[in-house]
Symmetry: C2
Subunit: 236 residues, 2 copies
């Protein structure tokens, strides 16, 4: 039996949201009984030091704790690893180097989902991920132009993420709406929600001013595609 390894807890609700997407996508692919669903091992470690703070130079590195989680998943013989936290992907190469199991890259999956013809792409992420340039580099490599937030807009993005982590989804949505309005005024054609807390706020918006790419959903799609192609929904 092949297990999908999830390194989660960053944050807790985003991991649950990711699992729910995996299950819904597997149902859409035809699973109607428990036994047709995908086995997973979820190492849910909310105590991992804050990724964004570390990237901004304000806190301890999460890398030892991330590698601890990656090691645990590999010791339990998972066949694939996914990490529903964009900021953690700053340390992708270090995690990949210590993992037997392949790791799907959340930002690669998200950028791959951008529609053809689009040029200006808004980057919504933690302050740390924005500062690290993770999405900007990946967008440039594929011929897209990044639209980065100004300070006031990043403040709304940060507040949205903090509110989701505190379970205040209503308030988080207001901050996200203000951020997306600003990006729309800058001529951004699509917004990448490059932090897995942001889709939880976006799901509550009746009419986002520009279309969004949901990094949680794109990671879930890539995971389910991989798993179904390998037949992991079939018990041995």
């Amino acid at each position: 039996m092949a297990l999908i390894g999830i390194l989660g807890g960053m944050g807790p609700l985003a991991t649950v949201d990711f699992m729910e997407r995996l299950i819904a996508l597997t149902s859409s692919a035809g699973a109607s009984r428990d036994q047709q669903h995908l086995p997973m091992l979820v190492v849910h470690l909310p105590h991992i030091p804050d990724r964004s703070e570390a990237l901004l130079g304000n806190g301890e590195s999460p890398l030892p704790a991330l590698l601890h989680g990656i090691g645990m998943l590999n010791r339990n013989e998972v066949e694939l690893i996914v990490i529903p936290c964009n900021s953690a992907h700053h340390w992708y190469d270090e995690m990949r180097a210590e993992s037997r199991a392949p790791i799907i890259h959340i930002a690669e999956a998200s950028v791959a989902a951008l529609p053809a013809g689009v040029r200006r792409v808004a980057v919504l992420a933690t302050g740390g991920t924005l500062h690290s340039g993770l999405y900007q580099r990946m967008l440039a490599a594929r011929g897209f132009e990044s639209v980065e937030p100004d300070a006031a807009t990043q403040h709304h993005i940060d507040a949205c993420i903090t509110d989701v982590k505190a379970g205040k989804i209503g308030a988080s949505t207001e901050h996200l709406a203000l951020a997306l309005d600003w990006f729309a005024r800058q001529g951004a054609q699509v917004a990448v929600l490059g932090c897995t807390e942001l889709p939880l706020a976006a799901q509550q918006m009746s009419a986002p001013p520009i279309p969004t790419i949901d990094s949680t959903l794109e990671l879930a799609r890539a995971t389910v595609s991989y798993a179904l192609a390998h037949g992991w929904n079939r018990p041995l």
Copy 2:
């Protein structure tokens, strides 16, 4: 760092619902940042053979697969185990005997939540759990009288559970409403939702005809109480 072990996947959405309750209860207890939440290890094994079918004599025993999951959690040094599936608790003693970590019993947590003064309690569960008498014995031991469904009502309960497992929440709610109406007519004062799929349907009901005890929520409450009492929300 102490880990809460969850033996899940029975079914997939019920496990996600359980995790979401754990996180919400931890937030309500004051957690506002990732690092104040509870670490978990979730062994999510939807391929475990159908518990209800086995209890009705129609399928292979899930016990070897359940013990495989319990073994995996113990090898990873979890300090507590919870299983968000009522039917699996038919094998509680066998699992407990092979587990170093204590296992909270979902039916004990649910029956303990019944309000004083109540006498007639509706039992809603899989056909297998109903047949096993798990809830009826526990209710009788505490002085409650079980109201068991007739065949037509059990058909609605089974259909509700099957629909939730297939992701058809809307249809599942109609079946649950018909079952609860029948129990109300029998004079049941409270209904125990003794299957972790049922609360997913109940959450969509605007006005259940009798109050319900939600076994997913009661297991989550017992888990969070235990974990917070042991300080597991504080990183080492």
